[in-house]
Symmetry: none
Subunit: 221 residues, 2 copies
């Protein structure tokens, strides 16, 4: 009855159907440490949230089945949603911010709380992985919550999350970041205003600007 694939204290039960069209078939139930009964994998997943990755969890046997993961991946390889995801990870790789002088802004360093997981990870892939995850999903981004992913990524990897260790974003983190964004926006506003004024002054002297570009249908962005 104890279920080794779930956290300690979880119990599993199997009940055989005795009659009817489905006689001989069975139903599988799980019980949380507190005694709550679960009748399906979705119900279990809703309750456990991101504390346990159930992607490879087989509800009927109660075991982690790497084969399940394989099948999911095979199907998803040609899946439009997944292709979109891979597209964005590629699209975002190698990008960095720069100012008008073409100098790279070095302030893209990630907080120390964000750490990659798995082979060949570095800050560059980490950033694009997280940005991609934020871009392609409306679900919360938590990172890989299971510590087991370090030992056996093939089984424990939660493919709906980027390849980084689980992290916590505190209210203090959010406040600080909002402050930084406000400051940068103010700088941008000042720069745009100065640029506009400069152009205005210039065109005041030059009213006969070219009109060739009037029908090329290009729109400002």
């Amino acid at each position: 009855m104890e279920c080794p694939a779930l956290p300690p204290g979880w119990k599993k039960e199997e009940v055989i159907r005795k009659s009817g069209l489905s006689a001989g078939k069975s139903d599988v139930y799980y019980f949380s440490p507190s005694g709550k009964k679960f009748r399906s994998k979705p119900q279990l997943a809703r309750y456990l949230g991101n504390t346990v990755d159930l992607n490879s969890f087989d509800f009927r046997t109660g075991k982690m089945m790497p084969s399940k993961l394989q099948k999911n991946k095979q199907r998803l390889r040609n899946d439009p949603l997944n292709q979109n995801k891979l597209f964005w990870e590629k699209r975002l790789q190698g990008l960095c911010a720069s100012d008008v002088t073409e100098q790279i802004i070095r302030s893209m360093e990630l907080p120390k709380g964000l750490q990659g997981v798995g082979p060949g990870n570095n800050d560059n892939t980490l950033l694009s992985a997280i940005a991609s995850a934020l871009h392609t999903s409306s679900a919360p981004i938590t990172g890989q919550l299971s510590a087991a992913v370090e030992k056996n990524p093939a089984v424990w990897l939660n493919t709906s999350q980027p390849l980084c260790k689980a992290f916590i974003v505190t209210d203090e983190d959010i406040r600080k970041q909002e402050e930084r964004v406000q400051q940068v926006r103010k700088k941008l506003e000042d720069a745009l205003m100065a640029d506009m004024l400069a152009h205005a002054a210039e065109s005041a002297n030059n009213t006969d600007v070219d009109m060739d570009s009037g029908d090329d249908e290009s729109a400002p962005e």
Copy 2:
């Protein structure tokens, strides 16, 4: 929802899949007059048995498709089962019962209720067709139930049934036939008994019968 290709009272329904990997695909269901749901052509065929010929029935559209029949026939022409069937129809053609005097017994006339269908049919082919059907299948033999087979055999012919109109065998028919069989068996018994007695009387006068056939392993049947 009403399905003209099936007997009256049968309903058809098409349901689009709303989610999952197969979203957008559809499933077709049929409902018997009593409300039982059918989810595939084999399931439908098992239930209808020989009352309706589904060879040319297209499950998805709910219509009879002569094109389907062509493919079936091509396949069945080389099919071992079908060859076996044709073999027996050929094997039984031209046979008739006779008594020891080699006189043909004319009592093989078929009941008036049995009528052939299609071009070039006569009582001889009819008898062998029915005998063949009984011999090669354990399923009930009903004849061609659809009246449409007269007009367009190419579409409506039920190839699992002999080429005769649908017929009903009543309890009275069965009782009469049993009586006839009993009478004929009694005649046969009398004849065999008389034959045996004649032989016994003969061998009582001749005790030195040949013993050569003692080890030829032939068994009486």
